[in-house]
Structure formats: C-alpha cells, structure tokens
Amino acid sequence: MTSGVWVWIAGALTLAIYSFLYKDNPFYKVAEYIFVGLSAGYWAVYLFWNFAYPNLFQPLFSEGNYWNIIPLALGFMMFTQLSRRSAWLVRFPLTFVLGVSLGLQLIAAVEGDVVPQLAGTFEPFSRGALFNTYDFWTSIGYIVLLVGVLSTLVYFFFSREHKGVFGGIARTGVFYLMIAFGASFGYTVMARVSLLFGRVHFIFHDWLHIIR
C-alpha cells in the first residue's frame, strides 16, 4: 500500500509539514489545506457508509421503519443555523441532543466516577490487608492516596477562605496537584517523541530505505 509514487507523495507531504518549524511558508499551507479538505471528506464518506446508510436510510426505505423520519428531520434542522432567519429552528435538535446527553452525563458522573472513586479511596483500609497483605510501600501508598484525595477536595472549596488549618490542608492539596502535573508532564514527553519517531522511521525506513 505504501510503495512507488505514493511513498514519495507521503514523504514530500511529511517534509512540507516539518518546514513549519523553520517558519510558516506556502509548502506547509498547501499540506495543511489538503489535510483539512481530505479529512472532512473522509469523515463524510465513513459516516455515510458505516452509519447513515445501514442505520438510518435502510431501515426507513427497505424495512419501512417510519419512526426514523424523526431523527432525519431533526438532523436536517441542524442546517438551519446556516441562515440567520431560520437559525432558531436549530434549538429543536439541539435541545433534544442536549437533553439525552446531559442526562446520561449526569448519571455517568455519579455511577462511573463518584461512587467507585469514593469507595476505592477507603476500600483498601481493611485492617488485615493494610498491615499484612500489601507490601510496605503499597500500604504507605494507600495512606498517601487518602491524604491526597481529601486535601485536593479541600483545595477545591470555594466558599471558605484558605486560612489556618483549613488553609494548611488546602496547601497540601496544592503540593499533590504539582506532583501530579509534573509527573504527567514527564510521562507525556513519550507521546510527543513517539510521533516524531514514527515519522523519522517512515522517512529513513519506508521511504529512503537507509535503515533496514
């Protein structure tokens, strides 16, 4: 799939994007606009063949499921926002979508996050496990975790001034936040370098065949 002329196209486009590092230039711009146009086309094609056709049109036209007219009609109403006069019509599909998704988000926040995350914070503290099952650093870890969750929660209190003991706890929360952000930053470096590695490997391996 990546061979012949195609690999040269891929290579040239790769270099065109990298030219941005020197400064913004026409090559980069061309590559960027190709990318934007192409990916928009890609999404439309996929959405049609993989979803709209089997899930919306086929049930409506071949299987006679006339209820599907409702989402189709609401979907087409999305386009009314393109004109100023009819833009208010967009509120119908918008509020439908928002109602369903906000309802689900609300439940998911409680069911998927709040309940298990609260329980997970104190669950390790069964007497037997804390002193016998875990190794030393894990036991310490769970205590560190408990203190951290409580103090970060306190940091996010907005209706009380961070002063005195309360302020001390909130400051502990800040320390936790800083460790977490630092650690995440360090962890993330890999992701960015991976992408560069992927492209460099393409250039020297797939394209120029300099390395095996």
Binding site: D113, T188, M190, A191, V193, L195, F197, I211
Partner: protein, 275 residues
Amino acid sequence: MSVFEKIQNLDRRIIFVTVALAVILPLFFPLKLPVDITAPVQQLYDVIEDLPEGSVVLISIDYDPSGAPELDPATWSVMRHCFSRNHKIFVMGLWATGVPLGMRALETVGAGEYNKEYGIDYVDFGYIPGGAIALVNLGRDVHDVCREDVYGTAVDEIPMMKSIKSADAFGLVLSMSMGVPGSDQWILYYHARYRGNLATAQTAIGAPKYYQYLQTGQLVGLIGGMKGAAEYERLVNKYGLATIGMDSQSIAHLLIIAFIVLGNVIYWMEKRRKN
C-alpha cells in the same frame, strides 16, 4: 546582552535541531537497552492468558494516525496474544479515522500470521458513531448497534456473531484510546452499566489519569504509551516498532532533562547576578 540572556533567548530552531538529532541518531546506532515490565501491563497480559480458550475479546480502535506510533504496536501485540490463545476478536472503533488501522492490523496479524478466518475467528465492525451513547446501546444489544460489518455484510450472516448479543459475550474489552471518545466513555458509560473486564491502551498523554481507575478495579490493565507497547512486545516475544523506538525515547528524554537542568542553571545564575 549577557551570555545568559543569549542562551535563555536561544532560537527555538536550535532546540528543534537537537531534538531531531536525538530521535534520528539512535536509529543508526541502536543501544538495545532491555525493557522492564511494569505491573499494569503484566496485569493485562495475565487476564488474556487466563481467559478460557475461545473467549471473545473486544478491541476498540479509538485512535487515528496521530496515535498510531504508540497504539499500533500495542494493538498488534495484543492481537497476537489473543490469537495465540485461540480467543476470538471483535473489532470496532469510536473514531472513523482509525478504521483502516484496525483493518490493516487484523489482516496482517489474523489472516497473515495466524491463519485465522474472518467471520469465525474475528470480525470488524468499523466505525460506530455516537460515542458514549452508542456504548450504552452496544452493551444492551450488540446487533442493534452493529448492523453491518466493515465490508457491508449484515450482522445475522456472520457466524461468529450468533452468540455475541450483549455485553455478557465479551470476556475482555480493550479500548485502544487517544482521547475523546475513548476510554473515558468505556469506563463511565459501558463498564459502569455492564461491568466485566475492561482494560485500556493509552498514548502517554492520556495514561496518567487512568491510574486512579486501575486502583479501583474499574480497569484490569493499562498499556501506557510506547513504553507499555514495548513491554507487551516483550511479553509476546515479537519485537516491533515500539521496541526499536525505545532507544530514541531514551536519548530524547535525557536531552529534555538536560534542557531543564540548563534552563535552571541559567535561571539561578541570572538571579544571583541581579542580586
């Protein structure tokens, strides 16, 4: 302008060149340092190892080309592991732009390396739109969400799909994820409702926030970034791009640390000079 100020206002392009070199040079002069296995990756490996033969593993391709250098090696290694244990693989994805990546992986690993048969040992349902909402429906009724596979075959005509009707059918769900929609949606909308084994492979950007779910047991495994993928390559004993990439990673990480140190040395000297 003092020397310090000059270094501090270093043209970004000089930094850029050093970064490029740090990634390129190890390709020509490999260090071949060993990769150690971390607990979250080992956990996932054990789960797949312990599933009864013939279990169905759902692999969700929730990434696109920009996540491929990190997540492709992980996907391929996990597929190899599943096929070698004779598990069946069900592939889908929440990102339209990732579908060809899943197809390519299945073709190379499933049909190519393990001689597996499409429709019996593995299926590919491509892009499933709707993100979180689609997952709620999927767990309840797989056939309602997946009406046609990626080749346009109706779900009822695929032999493997006969016994896959709801979330119960999946021995393990694995979200290879680089953002939204992805693992967050699998945890909050799918796992919260239907339980079962859920694991994730993440780019190194997303991985840090999933440790909290690992601790609560909402996740049974986590492959974090290219390093996690390299670990999995070692576990299944088939080395690929992630392992090769580790050398570039080592040097680039050292370089960035060096830059941080340099930046701070300048900062402190500057501060002293001003005092």
